[in-house]
Amino acid sequence: MKRSSILFALVTLALLSYAFYQGMFVAPTEATMGDVQRIFYYHLPHAWVAFLLFFTNFLASIWYLIRRSERSDALALASAEVGVVFCSVVLVTGPLWARPVWGIWWTWDARLTSTLVLWLIYVSYLVLRRFVTGGQTQVLAAALAIFGFIDVPIVYLSIRYFRTQHPQPVIGGGEGSGLDPRMWIAVLWNLAGFLALAVLLVRLRYSLALAENALEEAHASRALAPQQAEGGPAADPALKLGDKSR
């Protein structure tokens, strides 16, 4: 487990380095925007990976409600946390790109606003997870995750209508139609790199969540132990933690 993680991390690093090379040196400079456009190779892959992670969170939450498996809850938590990080990167790189190209940091355009609302929904999911008392976190979080994901298409629909209704402050400036094939290659390498990074992070967070659960259980049964039997060191459940979390 540990060794495979390290191996995977190395592969991820290699992918990301190659993707950096592709995006920064191989892909041609964009005609009107210049080098600033290269942030696109980070912006777009992060957005796609974030959506993928939120979808994973949705599926894992449904699966948790059906099977009540601790593992799918850990996956839901891990994918939501990493998804929020990726979504934050999208929301930071977007304005960085927009400022030199559109002349403004932020516009309430359909995609920007939808991404922001998406981010808000999943932050509220993480906040809820922090605040639930008692052992009900998993069920309540899974329910909220389902609400959140169902809300996404409605958010998108409403904001798109809202924005086409009203005049847009800034039009165009996006990458438009037809990317240079070398740009596509850079996009795909970066997508592969960041997807691998996301998988790596989710995996680490997932096993951390499982280890935390095991630790909590061990504490709980240790607290109960003296009443059941005079717990000698051999009966100490915390000692079993090592093989449980692996």
Partner: protein, 224 residues
């Protein structure tokens, strides 16, 4: 007893209690009044401007006031373990949810009826578009807030600092509904466009989330 019969009894009990104590209505009304007063001297708009901003102001005031009522939805059932008793009884959980949601709908509806004249007076409002559409927006929009609000209140009672938790989880999910309510209201008040799309969106939102709430409520209320 059927689902509806249980829901009716439960609703009647809640309304009777509310009628006697008037806790939720009084606190909501006073809260909304404060919001209206503070808004009206922080903006001080002309009649033309107020038509443009009233949709936003009205709904923000109602939303905040509704949270006050929603937070109290389950508080009464926690005392003396009423909720636990309900869970072990054979009564369907869905009826309890329906009763609470309809009860909140009535409370918030009463609030809106009482506060609207005040808004009209303070902001010197006169609608250019047809007023009956506002009623439709209010009905669909209030249900959209209240159905999810009732459900999320059942989640937030299991958290630390529960009063703060409810808006934190309710507002992000309600953004499309709020957008629809605010923009549709502005469209009617200014008479610039037909709110048809927003009414459809609110109807879809209501149907979708009512279904999800009914489907998941039993799971949430029995969560251990």
């Amino acid at each position: 007893m059927t689902v509806m019969a249980v829901a009716r009894r439960s609703l009647a009990k809640d309304l009777r209690l509310e009628w006697r104590a008037k806790d939720a209505v009084n606190s909501m009304l006073f809260f909304a009044l404060l919001v209206v007063v503070i808004f009206s001297f922080s903006f001080d708009p002309t009649a033309e401007e107020s038509r443009r901003i009233a949709g936003g102001l009205v709904w923000v005031a109602f939303l905040f006031a509704a949270v006050v009522a929603l937070n109290q939805t389950w508080a009464r059932e926690l005392r003396n373990q009423v909720l636990d008793a309900y869970r072990v009884s054979p009564a369907p959980a869905v009826s309890l949810f329906l009763a609470k949601a309809v009860g909140n709908f009535i409370l918030v509806g009463v609030l809106e009826l009482l506060m609207t004249p005040l808004f009209v007076v303070f902001y010197n409002l006169r609608s250019v578009g047809p007023v009956y559409q506002l009623l439709l927006i209010a009905a669909l929009g209030t249900w959209a807030l209240v159905v999810n609000g009732t459900f999320f209140a059942a989640i937030s009672i299991r958290t630390r600092s529960r009063e703060i938790m409810l808006p934190l989880i309710l507002f992000p999910i309600s953004i499309p509904a709020l957008l629809a309510m605010v923009d549709a209201t502005t469209m009617v008040l200014t008479g610039e466009a037909s709110p048809r799309f927003w009414l459809q969106l609110l109807a879809v939102y209501d149907v979708v989330f009512t279904t999800v709430c009914l489907a998941l409520f039993e799971t949430v209320i029995n969560a251990e």
